[in-house]
Symmetry: D2
Subunit: 347 residues, 4 copies
């Protein structure tokens, strides 16, 4: 039996990716799509890739209409999403929020980064939607806070090394590279083809990027002590992809090189969506494009006594829509991989 679901905020890239994945899902059935400025237009007009594949019209959001679905994915901007999710959860709808509104467990910390606590009442009920870290809670979740793209890549690369106390929680440096779609569909000079193509640049560095506290929250949990890290995002001339390189100090510099790889292999051996690359092979975002796979690897720099953990994901799939579906599968008791088996699209 099909489970009716809806996408709110369907006119952005994450919304479109949700629609793509849901149209190919064996159990979820996309029954309605909502958008603000594009309301009234057909999905195929806004995103011609759906021409001939989905005959739907974007509607202005209406809680009653959306409430007919059993499962709603909200790809609204932060600050707007919380209220929509609250209204739906109250009606008994399963909600996956892809905004940042519920990601931080500490409302004061959320307020510090986002101006105010957008969801004081519901914050405690939300489960952080990284199945590789919170699978058990996700199985009984009604409200899921889907992680950011940078946090997903960074946490997947780093957390098992902290869990196993192989690296120090102090002095972590995260140098991450994102495809341009991560900036959203809104037209700005920064994402103009002639400005973002043929050039790479850091932005919102030195603690200015809002994904910082989210990464720290999860790594703090892994480390068992507070993590404060340096996070440098980059706009990279590719449409999709996140590559995170994490630089860490080993807790024991005499440990054999394979210990780091072994820890990742042990952590992810049974994970359907995390592949630990064989030693010597390094992640490349090109090989996860369009799929829900994360490729992770770790290297030991003997000369400089540094651990380098790396992860590559597709920012719109494992970094957003794919992970949302993965979480929803868990919450609704379906096989975790349902609708997510697609191999990455290369070249």
């Amino acid at each position: 039996m099909k489970i009716p679901c809806a996408v709110v905020g369907a006119s952005g890239y994450t919304g479109a990716e949700l629609c793509r994945l849901l149209l190919g899902h064996p159990t979820f059935e996309l029954v309605s799509v909502f958008a603000k400025t594009s309301a009234g237009q057909s999905l195929a007009k806004v995103f011609p890739q759906f021409a001939g594949r989905a005959d739907m019209t974007l509607m202005p959001f209406d809680v009653a209409a959306a409430g007919h679905a059993r499962l709603v994915f909200s790809a609204l901007p932060h600050g707007e999403s919380a209220a929509v999710c609250a209204a739906l959860v109250e009606r008994g709808v399963f909600c996956v929020d892809l905004s940042a509104d519920f990601r931080l467990r500490d409302g004061a910390e959320h307020a510090r980064w986002y101006g105010e606590d957008h969801a004081p009442a519901l914050r405690a009920r939300a489960v952080y939607g990284l199945p590789e870290r919170h699978r058990a809670q996700l199985r009984s979740a009604r409200l899921i806070a889907n992680p950011g793209c940078y946090p997903t890549a960074t946490i997947l690369a780093t957390a098992p090394l902290l869990d196993a106390r192989l690296i120090s929680p102090e002095g972590l440096v995260v140098d991450a590279k994102s495809g341009v779609s991560g900036a959203g569909r809104a037209a700005t000079t920064a994402v103009h083809f002639s400005e973002a193509g043929e050039g790479i640049r850091p932005y919102k560095i030195a603690g200015a990027h809002r994904h910082t506290p989210e990464i720290e929250q999860e790594l703090t949990a892994a480390a068992g002590q507070e993590v404060r890290l340096t996070f440098t995002p980059h706009l990279t001339p590719m449409s999709r992809g996140i590559l995170a390189c994490v630089y860490a100090t080993p807790t024991d510099a005499t440990r054999p090189a394979h210990a780091y790889h072994d820890a990742l292999a042990a952590a992810y051996g049974k994970e359907p969506f995390v592949t630990v690359l064989p030693p010597g092979q390094l992640p490349d975002t090109a090989f996860v494009r369009g799929s829900n796979q994360a490729h992770v690897a770790v290297a030991w720099d003997e000369r400089a006594r540094r651990v380098i953990a790396m992860a590559a994901i597709d920012n719109l799939v494992k970094g957003a829509a794919g992970q949302a579906v993965q979480c929803a599968n868990l919450a609704l008791g379906l096989p975790e991989t349902a609708g997510l088996e697609g191999v990455a699209f290369f070249p």
Copy 2:
């Protein structure tokens, strides 16, 4: 019940795309993959996108081993593919040849363009694998000559207008643009990122490209008289995609503009993989990337009295692997869309 199938020539882009599609197919089961220089390596080593998704080793081609499959896709180079297909067809295996070896019905014409007639005995039994033109024969085909990427786009845009006698078969001009993956995975200076990126260039123009006779063969059949056309391919700085623009003289310059669109709409109204875009919307390869869809459109240039027919496809899907699966679905009595429902990857 699953139908075992194999891919020969799996280490190229078309081979990889066949593997991607077959791994997601509900009935076909990829049981073996063959390659020449990469034989002995794992598929995931040669194409890391399969890491964690397909645990297979590339084998050197062996007709007995391949013959265990009920269906074989050959992505070998032309000249090499004919013999492999012949051996397999003789054993009762269904064969889809993605090379040019069986595409031209006239052996002498094949020899003119490819040096010799590589398949004199079997040529007559091969069916040209463009379902929108040869669906009936494909249902009983054992050997399918999968069309080239340029011909697929060009024929889909043009044939219905010739069928309906709306355009003259004389003086057709085809200006087509291909993504770089169309040149194959072999490393050459021409496909170096620094040479093929940030520049567009025509190549093999003025009747030099081997897709010319294939296009002419099919359009001649549509027109009921010999077609000789100008074909200009371009290497375009994108990985995937074919855009074909066809310039034609109308048979009646007083006809209303909508007649051309109507003809395409009538021809493709029930086609699962051809979308006639609404008037005013033009094809963009970005919106068919990774899917088996063709987006077609036609415009009437009132000022210059010219018909402009256009089609966009993904060269590796509708232009190669996807079309091969579509044809195989027909030949083996499956729903034509099986395994091909995926929406295009955008952005």
Copy 3:
């Protein structure tokens, strides 16, 4: 002695390219830059490539201030540029207008394409700034109508063949491909990296693009009879470059193939900025990027009896700012190549 010059509309791509070229010019000295929304900001803020190279502030346009220059380049939008140029010409300033306001000699035709005749009084005094066609008049010009990028490429490829009556003026088809910078710096979804990258698309086809009449005006002059042509522009995933492919019917299909190349070679043998490629070599926009060179070639399609003329230019240089400087050199009695000797940037 230096000649003081100014750029009006310096905050767009063409304006920036003018500044780049003028800063490297031996005789012209860039003394002031004007812009509208960016007025008050430093040039280096708006375009960081000028940091450390030009310490100038963008000023709101003022005719008195601009009038201190002996030469002004206007890169304002059409409709706005005419009045600015009129005011400056009246003060005795040499003006190169890079908008469309003075390009069409027929005011009624201008009004048909641009809504009204923006420059009735001055239209007759403007010289169309294509030195390869109008060098003599440019030497005494005070007001220069700098050609569009598509017209420059198209006319250079085609006019000598019409001059020599080698091709028919009837039935010309122009299929042209432009880099994304041709759309300007304004942020729109169409030029978003994630939309314009990895895809090619036609736009404003079938007589809708405003460069059509400009091309026709010049080719009509060459042919000695009215030319009506089909013009199809494409947005191509590269930042710079125009490639024009022109399809023509020969006036004599029995003529030897080399006749077409010979005509181009004769026309351009002494031209400093037009290179006729040797037979067999085809234009590639990558090889003219950043330079004022046009690469042209022509082929004879014996099978289909069609002439294919091609040209590649950099849309911002020979297609805009470089050509403007070339024209200004002529008008002010300098060597035509002054400041334009730079070799293309490749790769």
Copy 4:
């Protein structure tokens, strides 16, 4: 009076960039170009951007022929270049070696990274060609070891902070991103447009990249104590550019944020080719493309107590050919900026 100069190894990207710069140089006159496999072909055949701009034929290297020049740039591969330079220096020719053969002052260290000491006799006479660090010695140099692209960017961003003892020489992490042209013109699958486009990947990490000792040599000199650092290069989907991000521990975490910027500003205030961006602005390789400029910046991450120094250069200009010309200008007593005034080519 012109100074005759030659380029050896002119068929690669660095060689072509040298030719481009030398053709625009006011005093150096390019008189001969040498290459191995392309010998006998015209420069314009191998690199069509020179068509119409330089009528030269690539010759097989011959010390007598090259010796007619007063200045030779060698862009040969390491291991091959040393002997060529030795022969030329012996004849009294000024030599700029763009290979790695003379970069490391310690022959044993060179042998450790490159297999053997390729230049034991001449090593001591070579001057490391980074004018911002070794200007005085370069003024009297006869043999110049032109730095690698990654070292140039990394050293420019970091050395002044070490000079001023603002950061600790221990625990430095360099995360650097290179355009694909850095891999050279040789055709490999790794640089195929369809593999290198739309993806970013680290390579030769954890002390495997040969630019590591070169960076360490110069930073050790700045720090006054041995530097061992972590260096992670990435292949980035752009043709040109190096962005280096250097993560460092401050020597005093209570220092005000502006101290780091002030140190860079003091170091580079009079440098013609290093621009310290104003606080808040970050380097982007797009804005130095085609120019000899380096854009540097530094930020203080208060939260994580980390200094982040950044530099962007064009790998083929300030990272290779431009820097070579800058050094040659110094060695031959010309103005340092001669022939290098070109503004970056954007967009």
